[in-house]
């Protein structure tokens, strides 16, 4: 009797674990099936080469490039902000800061990632854009610059916390050897500790990029809703995620091409983040083996 009970419990626990596999299969199937229907009506070559995205207008074009450029532009701006700041914070906290300071500051910084993203959207639109407009006269009310900047602030803790963990895990003997040779903390940090923790740092950067590409509400609020193939950070653009929100808010008929565009856009987004996540997982696994 007891054995049967144990077995039943084990199997039901297994079932719960299998739900995670079902989620992945569900995501892939849903995106693939709807995207398949989409591509039976829209040429896949147009999708990747047309430079206009206007599925909601009378003159319909289905080129993903403007959405992709919007996504990459805002993500690039975000990483340009978060990478130098996040990495400096991680090196400072791990190599220079007193223990207590580190203990207080790290969770405080992680609050940056706990703030709901719609709140950051408010901040970008109502505070940062008007401020930047005083410095850059031609800046549009919706633009990728302030959306990207605020997104950068949001992802700082992704880089600073994970990198700091990696730096902190470097054995002290390496540092002591370097100090013994007469190196300063700075030299030790950049020539010994950072290279030793490089894989962890790279993982943190990849995760931050993946987070930026998938971020929705900041760009939906502050970057505008105009798909535009441009690298100009001062004009309105639209990202893949913002487009999906725009369609979801409107009244689009289920089963129409317009409805399917959000899945075609979604699968593009999914492929990007999937590749980045897989890459970071691989690096993390390799790095664990090296230290254990």
């Amino acid at each position: 009797m007891r054995k049967i009970k144990e077995l039943v419990i084990e199997k039901s626990l297994l079932l719960s674990a299998l739900i995670t596999i079902a989620i992945t299969i569900g995501i892939v199937l849903v995106l693939a099936i709807e995207a398949f229907h989409f591509f039976s009506e829209v040429s896949i070559i147009d999708f990747f080469t047309d430079t206009q995205w206007t599925p909601l207008f009378a003159d319909k074009h289905y080129g993903i490039l403007p959405l992709l450029s919007g996504t990459l532009l805002t993500s690039f701006i975000a990483i340009s902000v978060a990478l130098p700041i996040g990495l400096s914070i991680s090196i400072y906290l791990s190599e220079y800061a007193p223990k207590n300071f580190r203990k207080v500051v790290k969770p405080l910084l992680e609050l940056l990632a706990a703030v709901p993203t719609v709140v950051y959207g408010f901040f970008a639109l109502i505070v940062v854009t008007p401020f930047l407009q005083q410095i850059i006269p031609g800046l549009s009310g919706f633009n990728s610059l302030s959306a990207g900047f605020v997104m950068g602030i949001m992802i700082i803790p992704y880089i600073s916390s994970i990198s700091e963990d990696a730096l902190h895990a470097v054995p002290n003997t390496l540092r002591e050897a370097s100090f013994g040779m007469g190196a300063t903390k700075l030299q030790t940090a950049f020539k010994v500790v950072v290279p030793a923790a490089s894989s962890g740092i790279i993982v943190s950067i990849i995760l931050a990029i993946s987070r930026a590409i998938g971020e929705t509400m900041i760009v939906a609020v502050a970057a505008g809703q105009q798909p535009r193939l441009t690298l100009d950070p001062t004009v309105p653009v639209e990202t893949i995620t913002a487009y999906i929100v725009q369609v979801s808010l409107g009244d689009v008929e289920h089963g129409s091409v317009e409805y399917r565009t959000i899945f075609a856009a979604g699968i593009t987004l999914f492929v990007f983040t999937f590749l980045l996540n897989t890459l970071s997982y691989r690096i993390r696994k390799k790095y664990q083996e090296r230290y254990e």
């Binding site: 995106l31 400072y92 505070v127 998938g214």
Partner: protein, 284 residues
């Protein structure tokens, strides 16, 4: 200046730069909360909380959105908590180190990195259309449950990992079965860590906007939901809706609603940190 002095100077300069960067993040957070407080704090009163949405900013309140958020929070907890903890227990205690568990692990790590809006697309197709739940509280909660499942699973595993092996050995030595050991020893000993993870995951769910918009949650709902099958709005969507409007009064409303949302998020994070600290002390 010789090279030693130069290197020392560089060292000092980097230290200043590092403090600057650290403070930059914290100061921005402070400026930003300060700004929202200035914009919105005067707007908050009891009427704002119990008023229904309205076209006129000075009459509009957050009642339906707040109730929607509470509904979503409760249902998501009921769905995601047992499933997530069960999956975590399986992976940590039963999952043998074989290819299958390696696949499960890669899969969960990947799911944690899937953008939230993609979960929205999944929920739209599976819960709203195929299971024909419509744009209901239940469909929204199921979608968010899938979204936070990886977070709960990872937290459960970490918490179980932290339980000393001696606890388990002692239980087995007394003749307890595997499940008895897990239920009576491992889960109580890891409960603090699991609770921390679950609360953090739920605080993420409260702030989620995009997947619920995709699932079809509305910006304007005249009544608070009364059953899991009712239409709903949530605080973040109400905020998004108010931000998108040109009248200044709505910006003030948005700021006021943000204060309430941040209060909920920060309190949940605070509780999580409290549980973690208490639990870590107990483990030692």
């Amino acid at each position: 200046m010789n090279s030693i002095q130069k290197n020392r100077l560089k060292d000092q300069l980097f230290k200043v730069w590092g403090i600057g960067c650290t403070l930059f993040g914290l100061i921005l957070l402070a400026v930003f909360i300060g700004d929202i407080l200035i914009d919105g704090i005067m707007r908050i009163d009891w009427k704002f909380i119990i008023d229904l949405p309205s076209r006129k900013p000075e009459k509009a309140g957050i009642y339906t959105a707040l109730m929607g958020s509470i509904w979503i929070l409760l249902l998501t907890t009921v769905i995601a908590f047992p499933v997530g903890v069960a999956a975590g227990v399986y992976l940590e205690e039963y999952g043998k180190k074989n290819k299958f568990s390696a696949i499960l692990e890669i899969n969960i790590s990947n799911l944690a990195g899937v953008p939230s809006i993609i979960y929205g697309l999944l929920g739209l197709e599976v819960f709203v259309r195929i299971m024909s739940l419509g744009a209901s509280v239940l469909a929204g909660s199921l979608t968010l449950s899938l979204l936070i499942l990886p977070i709960i699973i990872v937290a459960t595993r970490e918490a179980i990992k932290a339980v000393p092996k001696t606890v388990k050995d002692a239980s087995f030595a007394l003749g307890a079965s595997k499940w008895q050991t897990i239920w009576n020893q491992v889960l109580p000993a890891s409960s603090g860590g699991i609770l921390t993870g679950v609360i953090l995951a739920l605080s993420r769910a409260v702030g989620e906007t995009a997947p619920l918009i995709v699932v079809g949650a509305l910006a304007y709902v005249p009544f608070a939901p009364e059953s899991p099958m009712d239409e709903f709005s949530v605080l973040p969507i109400q905020i998004f809706n108010w931000i998108s409007r040109p009248q200044h009064g709505f910006i003030e409303n948005a700021a006021a609603a943000i204060i309430i949302l941040l209060l909920i998020t920060f309190v949940m994070n605070g509780i999580a940190v409290y549980f973690r600290n208490k639990w870590q002390k107990k483990l030692k």
